[in-house]
């Protein structure tokens, strides 16, 4: 008999909550705005599910009621991924030290 994989996933979930807790408290307050935008970007990793859904139809009928939702989800998540990471990068690029400035 083997341990149900669900229990492993639960362990991973709980441990990740601990990590999230610590990792976020360690973020310097001046970067809280980029933090919001980057967490938004990484939460669009849900695109993984969208891709599976989009490619699930039969080859000949690309668009049907089930996988059209997948395509829409890909579209939405892609906006977030590109938009989120880029806007974060744009913000972070602005944080400069004194030296470079003088």
């Amino acid at each position: 008999m083997e341990i149900d994989p669900f229990i492993f996933r639960l362990s991973i979930f709980i441990l990740s909550i601990f990590i999230g807790y610590y990792v976020v408290w360690s973020v310097t307050p001046s970067l809280h705005t980029p933090l919001m935008s980057v967490t938004n970007a990484i939460s669009s990793v849900i695109i993984v599910g969208a891709i599976i859904a989009g490619l699930s139809g039969e080859i000949d009928s690309v668009f049907n009621s089930t996988n059209i939702f997948g395509f829409l989800a890909i579209f939405l998540a892609a906006i977030n991924i590109f938009g989120g990471f880029l806007v974060t990068q744009r913000m972070l690029q602005m944080y400069k030290k004194k030296k470079k400035n003088k």
Partner: protein
Amino acid sequence: MSLNLLAIFYLVSGILFILALRGLSSPDTSRRGNLFGILGMAIAITVTFLSIGNFSDGFVYVLIFLLAGGFIGVFIAYKIPMTAMPELVAGFHSLVGLAAVFVAISAFLNPQAFNLGFPGNIKIASLIEMSIGGAIGAITFSGSIIAFLKLRGIMSGSPITFKGQHYVNLLLGITIIVLIFYLCDSQSEKYFWRIIAISFLLGLLLIIPIGGADMPVVISMLNSYSGWAAAGIGFTLENSALIITGALVGSSGAILSYIMCKGMNRSFFNVILGGFGGTDQASLSNNKDKKPVKSGNAEDAAFLMKNASSVIIVPGYGMAVAQAQHSLKEMVDSLKKNGIKVSYAIHPVAGRMPGHMNVLLAEANVPYDEVFELEEINNDFANADVAFVIGANDVTNPIAKTDPQSPIYGMPVLDVEKCKSVLFVKRSLSPGYAGVDNELFYRDNTLMLFADAKKMTEEIVKNLD
């Protein structure tokens, strides 16, 4: 690709996301952190493609939608002004929420693709996971839309309340749970659609009663929700990248909301139950214009600062509204040319979102090592000559230290009144976000500069030359 290899890649991408957030512990490492995040995302997307290995028509359409979305994303990211960050984040959240809903729907309609069983015979555990993921996603979506509309000013920022609304919300919540039971029992499609529909409604009702100015806490809370939704879907798809990321985002949003509430000295429930922070309430202040105030013009301000040896700048929400950060930087530069020591003091809840002022100052090329947090700089006011308060109000209000009745009592504030003189740049005597009058305006060592923040700083710059 073998399932094991796939699992390892998803683990790697989860770890890269952890490193992405870790990078934000200092501005130096933050850019590398962001690259880790991008890399993690690229790995997750690539291995998902490879795992399906279906390079047919479908693949082309996936690419088309991906690129179309990406194009829009890039366009938005480049065009958006830094002052619109709060709305942008709210808007993006709504998209993640909707994407989660769509994935949940696909999983429900086409469970074979995800190895969850067959339509009408889906594993109970998966059914529960996907309903929870979909419901939270739907709440995130409609809630974020309201937040977006309120922040953008399209919808009135004032809290829209009606009697018994909390009971209605509670009822809706219970209904969702009951429907999930029915769904598991009957596997019937109609329950699934009802769960999603009611969740949309609940999202609207939850956020409408909350005042526009409280939106930042809401956004962060919705961020947290979108994380939990992603984690729920992650359990459905048995995907560790989604589970890890969901947990990270979930806790991150919750902690940020907590930090904001603590910074404002309010409880989270006080915010969520709504009815506070509307624009109406803010103007309802008492006994103003009664005491005399000293007011001055740009020339007076320039004179005062030129003769100071050290100046501390205290920016607030008004600076963001007026987009005054660039001219402020110019002003500081010309003060520095005169040999005056200048630093910036940032209150943890200055502005309308965490780190708001820091981003704007960074945009104006202010080096981040001239910018100090409250605890670092609060003792320095006593030794400084001038505090230049630009568009800030609540964060300087000494009533937080003295009057236990005041709504901001107990919130730590910047001790600007300890400076030899205090300059306030704002348009009127009206109070700020918390709707509390600021007695500093009436003090002897205060000079009010009534004007738009940007115009005023520009004029001061002229007078400094």
